[in-house]
Amino acid sequence: MNMVVCIKQVPDTAEVRINPETNTLIRDGVPSIINPYDVHAIEAALQIREKAGGKVTALTMGPPQAEVALREALSMGVDDAALLTDRAFAGSDTWATAYTLSKAIQLLGADIILCGKQAIDGDTAQVGPEIAEFLDIPHISYIRKIDEAGGGRIVVQRLMDDGFDVIESSLPVLLTVVRELNVPRLPSLKGKMAAKKAMIRKLTAADIGAEESSLGLRGSPTQVKNIFAPESRKDRKMLEGTIEEKVEALVRELVGLKCL
């Protein structure tokens, strides 16, 4: 079983703050991490490998610094790592990102492709399904359990708003996973030491035979127009006075609005 896990290096957005005066992001000291959902995807691939055998390759697209994320994946136990890095990829939206990753996956070959449900910096959840479309293979989103994997088929549970669906698919298939799926392992020391020395394969636009017009900014149908902080509410009423007076005023307002 050949598996490719698509991972993304992201700023730990839980640590990002907004400067209330300038309404801008404050990134100071925010570390870069592997997108947390992707860590569950790595764990899922490792668990499939333990049962069904095979090889797991971690794949990411990003600047040369994204190598750190791949080494982390290697220290958890993936067999191989590939980094898509090329100036031509800069400015990719989800369409161009998925196109580029799908080209690399064609080159690497895979029976199962695993992605996190979404990346915490963009929260789009689009790249996984789009890769599947480019590869013309089925995909199943929000995997919370893998019941069976092997023999050319897979049976999984897909988390929905009102419960879950049990779904069977032929291989190859792309899965996007949710956190309920597993508890990711920590790296091992031997894994870390090996990861430090491991060769990481670098792939450029030429290596994957991508059409230049579909890459990066040029290949991206969407663009960011602007970024802003939400506006404040106009009808706000601050309640003043002692604690008792404030509470009294609030109760009065609520009674007035027939809320009580």
Binding site: P11, W95, S141, T222, K225, D235, R236, M238
Partner: protein, 395 residues
């Protein structure tokens, strides 16, 4: 790169450096420089006190702007029941279509005899309906294949779908196949008066800030829209429209739903249907603090919500989480207790009718969205409020 620093006006003040979520701005020889780490997120635009950071305007000449007319809404259903978000999308779609002076269509897949009429009464001019059994359960491939085919045939300019598990799973395939842009999880939509482009607003960076996204050249412009943020249009019994039956010939699926298991968490339902929600954040301080909120909720007959911070601390289970990574709620009254008001949280509760913020910090952004604000110690305020509400209700 389309974002550049004007080295003549840059003073090297470093203001922009920390604004970049990707660490892509460095100071070299006293001037800011944008490195290859830049993701073109534009968080730095407008940060520079000297106005030295700007876009170059080269977005790379691409194909001709493709054509299209009409606004489409994908009307999602599960078990033969049309999802509420579909009616919200018709409300939003109606506004957009009227602004563009065009018509509004809905697309419904799966058996549902009364569905098309319902969609028309909620605002659709035309409904494409495929009754094929293939669509009884949700499989991504056939949904994507048929929707792509219809869009290819009729060429709408805008396609909206709910940012639900279903919409967010298969709509990306449609966008990939049609080679067009898709914006995820939008919280607001409008039309740019000049270009007639769709302005798609969504939370970015884990919901810390909002971004407006454009899809200027390819059509249709596609967006998934967060449930419970758009207003429904008026339900009009007298509305008439066209129903177009669609065949699913040649559409197949390599996945098969073997079983569907319902597992509804009571809290999640309660939160989304609640009239009143009492929500707690980091300021609540711990499980014990939440007991004060339970008391207040009890007095009000309210459900309990929480911010991500409180859930991450383990004070309350995830199913109570409101916000970008939790539930979107829209109650009559929302009490935000000890919640600072990160955008991540705001996007999940902003459509509440009345927001009451209680926070120690008068600068907390939650006050910007509040209807009523009380600055003070919630450990003093909540018990007193609980007591007064009990009295007022004669409990």
């Amino acid at each position: 790169m389309p974002i550049v620093v004007n080295k003549d006006t840059c003073t090297g003040c470093e203001t922009c450096v920390s604004s970049c979520p990707y660490d892509a701005i460095v100071i070299r020889e006293g001037k800011a420089e944008i490195t290859e780490l830049c993701q073109l997120c534009k968080a730095c635009l407008g940060v520079c006190p000297e106005g030295a950071i700007r876009e170059t305007g080269e977005s790379g000449a691409r194909r001709e702007k493709s054509e299209g007319t009409g606004v489409w809404v994908f009307a999602e259903q599960r078990d033969g029941v049309i999802a509420g978000v579909s009616f919200e999308l018709l409300g939003a779609g109606r506004r957009l279509a009227d602004k563009l002076g065009t018509n509004l269509s809905a697309v419904l897949f799966g058996p549902n005899a009364a569905g098309p009429d319902e969609l028309i009464k909620w605002g659709a001019d035309r409904v494409f309906h495929c009754e094929d059994e293939l669509f009884r359960n949700f499989n991504d491939e056939p949904f994507a294949a048929l929707l792509s085919r219809l869009i290819g045939q009729h060429k709408p300019e805008i396609v909206l779908a709910g940012a639900t598990p279903i919409g967010r799973s298969f709509i990306p395939r449609v966008a990939a196949r049609l080679h067009t842009g898709l914006t995820a999880d939008c919280t607001s939509l409008d039309i740019d008066g000049e270009s007639r482009d769709l302005l798609q607003v969504r939370p970015a960076f884990g919901g810390n800030i909002m971004a407006t996204i454009l899809c200027p050249e390819t059509r249709p412009q596609m967006a998934t829209v967060r449930p419970r943020v758009m207003k429904r249009a008026e339900y009009d019994l007298s509305r008439n429209g066209e129903i177009v039956k669609v065949s699913a010939a040649d559409v197949g699926s390599r996945t098969r739903v073997v079983e569907t298991v319902k597992e509804v968490s009571e809290v999640a339902v309660n939160l989304q249907e609640a009239n009143i929600i009492v929500s707690g954040g980091r300021g609540v301080g711990g499980e014990k603090g939440f007991h004060l909120l339970y008391e207040l909720a009890d007095a009000l007959g309210a459900s309990i919500g929480a911010s991500r911070a409180a859930v991450d601390e383990g004070w309350i289970p995830y199913r109570h989480q409101v916000g970008q990574t939790g539930k979107t709620v829209g109650p009559r009254i929302y009490f935000a207790c000890g919640i600072s008001g990160a955008v991540q949280h705001l996007v999940g509760m902003q459509s509440s009718d009345i927001i009451i913020a209680i926070n120690k910090n008068p600068e907390a952004p939650i006050f910007d969205v509040a209807t009523y604000g009380i600055v003070g110690d919630l450990f003093e305020i909540i018990p007193l409020l609980t007591k007064r509400i009990r009295e007022a209700k004669g409990l």
